[in-house]
């Protein structure tokens, strides 16, 4: 395929396109975001319900209020339930994200498991795993207050890190999550609310924006 005519502008565009396609995994689906956000909202609603059903434990989540003490056992029980709920939410969100992204990759004719998607996952996984260890350690030491800010901040940093290898827009979602996480560090008692905004509302918003920008074409 020899081109005798030099078309520099088109050639440069082609080069840019190939660089982008070969180094970024572009088949992330907007629906994955909407799905993850929806799952987070449902999870948060369940958590809220559990916390309200046992008023004494609910009060324990606000350490400022000393007048209402739950028994140690009661508190540990609901905490454990919440941890499993969070893991369940994570699994359902990931499964949906995988499904929608796979569907898009098939449509784009791109293998789901290639060099770029692997690199993206590794870049995402490093801060995420670190955040997981942090969250677990804080929980271990009885500092549940810091779980929501840790989740939000480390997740945000994972997105910023991974954005080099996928749609660059994901960086802004990452920055928003980090900002929310940092705010969450300073205002007590709003952990669940900010968690819901970060993982629920922002994901849905991001998903819709991405879907409009890339998928709906």
């Amino acid at each position: 395929m020899q081109d005798d005519k030099v078309e520099p502008l088109q050639t440069l565009k082609d080069i840019h396109g190939i660089m982008e396609r070969s180094s970024r995994f572009l088949s992330l689906s907007g629906w994955s975001g909407v799905w993850a956000g929806g799952t987070a909202l449902i999870g948060a609603a369940i958590a809220k319900m559990w916390l309200q059903q046992i008023p004494s434990t609910y009060r324990m989540a606000y350490p400022n209020n000393q007048s209402f003490a739950a028994t140690e056992g009661e508190y540990k029980h609901i905490l454990l339930k919440l941890v499993f709920l969070a893991l369940g939410v994570l699994l359902v969100a990931l499964a949906g994200g995988y499904y929608f992204t796979k569907r898009k990759a098939i449509r784009d004719g791109i293998p789901l498991w290639n060099g770029t998607s692997k690199r993206m996952l590794v870049e995402l996984a490093i801060p995420l795993a670190t955040g997981g260890v942090f969250a677990f350690a804080f929980l271990w030491h009885g500092l549940e207050l810091y779980i929501a800010p840790i989740c939000l901040t480390f997740y945000g940093m994972a997105l910023i890190n991974g954005s080099k290898y996928t749609l660059s827009d994901i960086k802004y979602l990452g920055i928003a999550e980090v900002v929310l996480g940092c705010i969450c560090l300073f205002i007590r008692g709003y952990g669940l609310v900010l968690w819901t905004i970060g993982f629920g509302v922002l994901h849905i918003l991001y998903g819709i924006i991405m879907w409009k920008k890339y998928d709906s074409k």
Binding site: Q2, V6, P8, L9, T11, M19, S22, S23, G115
Partner: protein
């Protein structure tokens, strides 16, 4: 036109330009990844890779994943410099036209 002369004849081919572009942003890339990326046939891709290799623009590593051969490619310093000056020449032509 002087600038046109600065264009590298080796990069006349779209496929060769494609290979070089991909290698500029990836440390290594294997044959199958290149094939999917550029949407070319095995034979066609192999010929162009051979040309680039003979000109010392890319380095070839033959390896195995299990029993399957896995040939990966890396850009050389020579290749990188050549590709960059080709890009500069293209940009000059564009700004010259503008």
């Amino acid at each position: 036109m002087q600038v046109i002369e600065q264009l590298n004849k080796l990069f006349d081919s779209r496929i060769r330009i494609g290979i070089m572009s991909a290698l500029m942003v990836n440390e290594t890339i294997n044959f199958n990844e290149l094939k999917t990326l550029l949407d070319v046939t095995d034979g066609n891709l192999a010929t162009h890779l051979k040309t680039l290799e003979e000109n010392n623009y890319i380095k070839v590593q033959k390896g195995f994943i299990g029993k399957k051969t896995n040939t990966t490619y890396t850009i050389t310093k020579v290749g990188e410099t050549a590709f960059k000056s080709h890009l500069k020449a293209l940009e000059k032509i564009i700004s010259g036209l503008g």
